[in-house]
């Protein structure tokens, strides 16, 4: 019992802080921010081709550059997430989900998107932006809580 009290006293006197969550990574933060910008630029260009009379200008091949860059960024995110510590489970899960979301979007385009003036695909734009925002927002929170000492 005495040992426990002494241990607790030392712990408190030394001002040890508890870490429940980690996962801030400047590369994840910056890459996700850039991916959001790239995605929105891509989406504006893609939508322009989906709301005209030309059914060929939206072909996947014409947008290959964007998807190649997207893949590179997703690999960078996954690699960084892999090396985060065990208290970063939430960030790791977010990165996996973001990767899957972007691949569903890419495959949808690869399978063919048809012209439509009614369907502006706002659900896709909103959801993907929400994903980016959620990752970025948590990164910002983890960054500002980084002043807490890790023990």
């Amino acid at each position: 019992m005495k040992t426990l009290i002494y241990t607790l006293a030392i712990f408190l006197i030394a001002g040890c802080h508890i870490t429940l969550i980690t996962g801030y990574d400047p590369v994840i933060d910056e890459t996700t921010t850039n991916m959001k910008k790239d995605f929105n630029l891509h989406f504006i260009k893609l939508m322009r081709t989906l709301q005209d009379e030309d059914s060929t200008n939206q072909s996947f091949e014409k947008f290959q550059d964007y998807y190649d860059n997207m893949e590179v960024n997703l690999i960078a995110l996954s690699d960084r997430a892999k090396f985060l510590d065990t208290k970063s489970t939430i960030v790791k899960k977010q990165v996996i989900l973001l990767d899957s979301t972007m691949h569903v979007f890419m495959n949808m385009h690869r399978n063919g998107l048809r012209d439509s003036r009614i369907d502006d695909r706002r659900d896709i734009k909103n959801a993907i932006n929400s994903s980016f925002d959620a990752v970025i927002m948590l990164q910002e929170e983890l960054k500002s809580s980084g002043t807490i000492k890790n023990n």
């Binding site: 802080h17 508890i18 969550i21 899960k93 569903v104 659900d123 927002m137």
Partner: protein, 111 residues
Amino acid sequence: MTEINTNQIVNDSIIVVKTILGSRWESFKPFAEHELRQFSENAEFLAKLKLAGEINDDEFKARLDIQRMAFKTVMLGIEGIGIVTAQEAINKVIDIVAKAVKTAINISLPV
């Protein structure tokens, strides 16, 4: 088609998110409310497109998948912020107790 009660969905979801965020709710209220409302509206929009025959089954399924995964990503973000909040609260308490203990036993150690 039965109307989707977007307001009811948003209000019920807000109660859950409010519990997770605790004292930080006010700071994240605009973000949480906006996101929850948007997901409800997206679901309604997709349902209307499907019923109107604008999209086929495969596209409908893919777009619902995007919604599902994005919603999970947002909820994970909210959960993470909730944990950061709890972590900060615990550490503030530790600081207060440490200060009190130090004062009581009259020693000075770097914090």
